[in-house]
């Protein structure tokens, strides 16, 4: 009875990472990460460049395999899962890549239609309608026939976001969502993320090195250092910390632009 209750509780937690370790050769990138993200919650993972933030996201979606530890998505450990079962879980996860990773041989519309075409049986008309709605939700319906190379970086992020939302995921992962964007566009993307979070009540993980936007979109933040989570909590918890690195990170972050 108790075991069933625990299993149900775990299934209710969209992302649960336990003692996760990952090394590349001799270099240990993640050394025992533990974290949980609940439904409707946004966790931002902060840290300096090269601290394994993006690796952590790729581990959560199964693009890389950890050396040890477990990654449970809705209570199911994805480590070592066969590809067909992993793909079933991936359909519940949206991923916005750092450089959007749009398929450059397809139009904006075809990019968003790609996951729909593969996984959901629907008529061409219905699919087009669904794509239009998705593009409208990120204010990109006017650019549907353009190629990714013909639109700006901010627009590419929006299209990437529409594609990530195509299958109606309940988990959304953002890898540096505003990196390389000007402050105004970055703020717009931040607002868009916030708006979509409110509308869809997803569990989200935002990986970023910029502290300001993280403060806007996150419920909690985790600061990564030397492959471990140095501190985790609300933004206020971080500000109260007397740890030299946390203080320095917050102070240096305050000098930067308004990026997520």
């Amino acid at each position: 009875m108790e075991a069933t209750q625990t299993a149900n509780q775990n299934a209710a937690i969209p992302i649960q990472v336990k003692i996760l370790r990952k090394s590349f050769g001799e270099q240990a990138v993640l050394s025992g990460i533990n974290l949980e993200v609940r439904q409707g919650e946004t966790l931002s993972i902060l840290g300096r460049s090269g601290t394994g933030k993006s690796v952590l996201l790729k581990l959560i979606v199964g693009l890389q395999a950890p050396d040890s530890g477990s990654i449970c998505i809705h209570g199911k450990d994805i480590v070592g899962l066969p590809m067909d079962q992993l793909n079933e879980i991936r359909m519940k996860i949206g991923f916005l890549f750092q450089n959007s990773a749009l398929y450059d041989s397809l139009t904006v519309e075809e990019n968003v239609a790609f996951p729909l075409r593969r996984h959901i049986k629907m008529s061409d008309g219905k699919r087009k309608q669904r794509v239009r709605e998705l593009l409208a939700s990120v204010d990109m319906e006017q650019e549907s026939q353009k190629m990714p190379g013909d639109i700006s970086g901010g627009m590419q992020k929006r299209v990437g976001l529409a594609r990530a939302l195509a299958l109606g995921p309940n988990i959304l992962l953002f890898d540096e969502p505003t990196a390389g964007l000007d402050p105004i566009t970055a703020a717009e993307i931040g607002e868009l993320i916030l708006k979509l979070q409110k509308e869809r009540n997803m569990a989200s993980v935002v990986v970023t090195h910029d502290i300001h936007g993280a403060q806007i979109v996150s419920d909690r933040v985790a600061l990564l250092r030397d492959g471990q989570i140095l501190i985790e909590g609300t933004f206020e918890d971080l500000q109260k910390s007397s740890d030299t690195f946390v203080v320095q990170f917050l102070n240096d972050g305050s000098l930067g632009g308004h990026h997520v």
Partner: protein
């Protein structure tokens, strides 16, 4: 891996490459045969490969026909066997020149294209994006391209053969007028299916080499623009080299089974 003698690193890298290629082929086996099949993407790749390689194959075939006619005529005239010229041209093109020239031309055109395309997709995380969309990139990107190469090569070889024989006749008739009908009748007089079929179908192996090597090099790309350039170059160099080596074996095998 540290070893004491010179050249060891290269030797290790050489064997590692084959090992990785073997693993790559292993990962490709299931996507190749297990449904659902990526018919739409396969047709797109087949069309693209054919349309872009066709003019090159035709041109290379035509040039081969001209060169064969010019160079062989001189030798045959010396021995008083000029009447054998059509047969020599036809047999030479059908049995060896057509298939190998086609394979090398497609290797230059398609292997570079596939290596660079997949390499660029790899470094810009597009392949990761496909995987995250719960689509197997081996099935969607690799199997379709490899199959397109395997099936397109024999068709392109027919084009090369046709252009080679036709231009062989044009060159021959300019020096010593002969009707096309007579040229073909003389040329194909002693040609059997045993000459034509195995030689044409062996290009499927060349297609497999081109597709596999180019996809393999593309999918293991890393390091940005330089990595993409490296993937494109090595795809052409390695596939061309392996085609020539495979041809040695295939010619011997064909001689065993079709003496």
């Amino acid at each position: 891996m540290e070893t004491g003698f010179p050249g060891a690193k290269t030797a290790v890298a050489f064997f590692e490459w084959f090992g990785d290629l073997g693993t790559f082929c292993g990962r490709l086996t299931a996507p190749f045969f297990v449904p659902p099949y990526e018919v739409r993407e396969f047709v797109r790749q087949f069309d693209e490969l054919g349309s872009k390689s066709l003019p090159l194959a035709a041109l290379a075939g035509a040039a081969t026909g001209v060169v064969l006619s010019l160079s062989t005529r001189d030798g045959l005239t010396r021995f008083g066997a000029e009447s054998l010229l059509p047969a020599v041209i036809v047999l030479s093109i059908i049995k060896e020149s057509g298939p190998i020239i086609t394979a090398l031309v497609v290797s230059g055109r398609a292997a570079a294209g596939i290596g660079a395309e997949l390499g660029a997709m790899k470094v810009t995380e597009q392949i990761d994006a496909i995987e995250v969309s719960a689509v197997n990139p081996f099935k969607f990107l690799v199997a379709t391209r490899v199959l397109a190469c395997i099936l397109m090569l024999p068709l392109l070889t027919l084009v090369t053969d046709f252009c080679g024989i036709f231009m062989g006749w044009v060159t021959t008739t300019l020096a010593n007028p002969i009707s096309l009908r007579l040229f073909l009748a003389n040329g194909f007089q002693n040609v059997t299916f045993g000459d034509f079929l195995p030689s044409t179908l062996k290009t499927m192996v060349f297609g497999l080499i081109i597709g596999l090597v180019a996809c393999f090099q593309g999918m293991r790309t890393h390091g940005g623009t330089e990595g993409v350039e490296h993937a494109a170059t090595t795809s052409v160099v390695l596939s061309s080299l392996l085609i020539i080596l495979a041809d040695v074996l295939l010619v011997r095998l064909i001689l065993v089974f079709f003496p």
